[in-house]
């Protein structure tokens, strides 16, 4: 039996034991259903959800907001990181402000984003992007600063222009840091989107959770949490695929 297969079997067993305990506790009446619900009810809800159009519309909305927030935050963050690494003085000037905004719980900005970008998808995308932006900025900045200066110097002695050095040396050289940031950013974009949806709006999995919780429909809350976990895993795997494709020059041992 291969190592991965046996690992997966053990994982499956852990899940089965966990679900059995949970079901047993609820079955024996040790907890009330609106507190913990039970696996059988959660799966019943999931069964109905996957055949309902309403559910898929909400999944689509959340996915779109998350991806848009991720892309917008990442593109702006990488661009800002490069700009600040290039004009180092500007980073020195802006550093305390960047760190203040970075450390600020961006969720506190949600009400402002609602006013600025409306109750629709815009405010959720903005919140997700604002979480992603600073991580990508700081990671890219560090990545560019960590580049062996002689790689850049070698290109300079060849007569390479600044834009050539940015494209052909600095961008690929900082890719490791950019991808490390992107992996963290998937989770952050999901947080931004879900929190945004929970605060206000009409669609999205966050909005569904908020409504279900108001009605003490704990089975549905757990069901949506499982859907979100699956979504996060799928996004992470997709990112790994992209990373492997972009970084295929790397030795096997260093790959994700």
């Amino acid at each position: 039996m291969s190592r991965t297969l046996s690992l997966n079997l053990i994982r499956l067993a852990v899940v089965a034991v966990f679900l059995a305990l949970w079901e047993g506790v609820a079955h024996l009446g040790l907890t009330q259903d609106f507190v913990l619900s039970r696996p059988s009810r959660v799966f019943l809800w999931l069964e109905q959800a996957v055949i309902s159009e309403f559910f898929w519309i909400n999944v689509g909305v959340t996915l779109r907001e998350t991806l848009l927030g991720l892309i917008i935050g990442a593109v702006l963050g990488v661009a800002s990181g490069f700009a600040l690494a290039h004009w180092r003085r500007s980073f020195e000037v802006l550093e305390p402000f960047i760190m203040a905004l970075y450390s600020l719980p961006r969720v506190a900005l949600a009400p402002l984003f609602l006013v600025w970008f409306g109750i629709g998808e815009g405010s959720k995308v903005a919140l997700a992007a604002s979480l992603v932006y600073f991580v990508m900025l700081l990671n890219t900045y560090t990545g560019v600063r960590e580049i062996d200066p002689n790689l850049v110097n070698a290109a300079r002695t060849m007569g390479a222009s600044k834009s050539f050095i940015t494209r052909r040396i600095q961008l690929p050289a900082s890719m490791t840091f950019i991808f490390a940031g992107l992996r963290v950013s998937i989770g952050l974009a999901l947080i931004g989107t879900i929190v945004g949806e929970m605060i206000a709006g009409r669609f999205g999995l966050g909005q569904m959770i908020a409504r279900a919780a108001n009605m003490f429909d704990t089975a549905q809350v757990f069901g949506i949490i499982i859907v979100l976990a699956v979504l996060a895993v799928v996004l992470n795997e997709a990112m790994k695929l992209i990373e492997r494709r972009v970084m295929r020059w790397q030795p096997q041992s260093k790959r994700v």
Binding site: D148, N150, L151, N153, A154, A155, R156, T157, M158, G159, A160, S161, F164, R168, I169, P172, A173, M175, M247, W249, Q250, P251
Partner: protein, 268 residues
Amino acid sequence: MMQEASTTETPAKLSAKLRVEGVSLEFPGGDGRAIKVLNGIDLAIAPGEFCTIVGPSGCGKSTLLSVIAGLLAPASGRCLLDEKPVQVGNPRIGYMFQSDTLLPWATALDNVRLPLEAVGRKDDGRCLDLLRRVGVGDFAASYPWQLSGGMRKRVQLARLLAQEPDVLLMDEPFGALDAQTKLLMQEELLRLWESTKLTVLFVTHDLSEAISLSDRVLLFSARPGRIKEQYDVPLDRPRQIEEIVSDPHYNELFVRIWRSLREEIRLS
């Protein structure tokens, strides 16, 4: 045969390929005071000459190469290529760094293409040819991590030649290699130099390497670096690396330079 070590004055050469005039440089020190790194360097290298610089660590010999390449601006003095001031990014001056400067995400061929692409050119046939010339033609599609240290140096040599330089500045290029690979690379470099008539300024801390390769050895003083002495190497060309060490001229020169170098190392 053996010529006396001359003093630090610039030799009166009619045509210098590379000329360094009164170059001085300071770095800001930790306590706010400036540290003088280079102290009035005068140097003239004839076309096709192979010149090496030896000196104690930290004497500024690598720094001088950076100044000549235009990567560092001197506090005073100037560097001339064919009697015209040097500017950074002139492809006619090739620079080989001590550290590995191959792009790790690019194949050997892509690395050799780089200097051409940097100036908007493309000539894959020539790039492949260069890889073959330095003996790594079969590894054009390999990434640097798949190559040994010696092979990476060969790819770097091919990349250096791809930009069609007249002058090579080489900063301890073989310093990190094991002894055997180093000898192979020295042979390779001599072979390339003999067939190309390039002008070379080569920095090393390996006295034997300096004598084996060059026409002239410049001895740098301890910091602030200045040219303390120069020695003409009276060995015939073309040279065989393995035969040089048994040449009495080699041994005599080695001892003379070493005695002088030792004083500087003790000072530094």
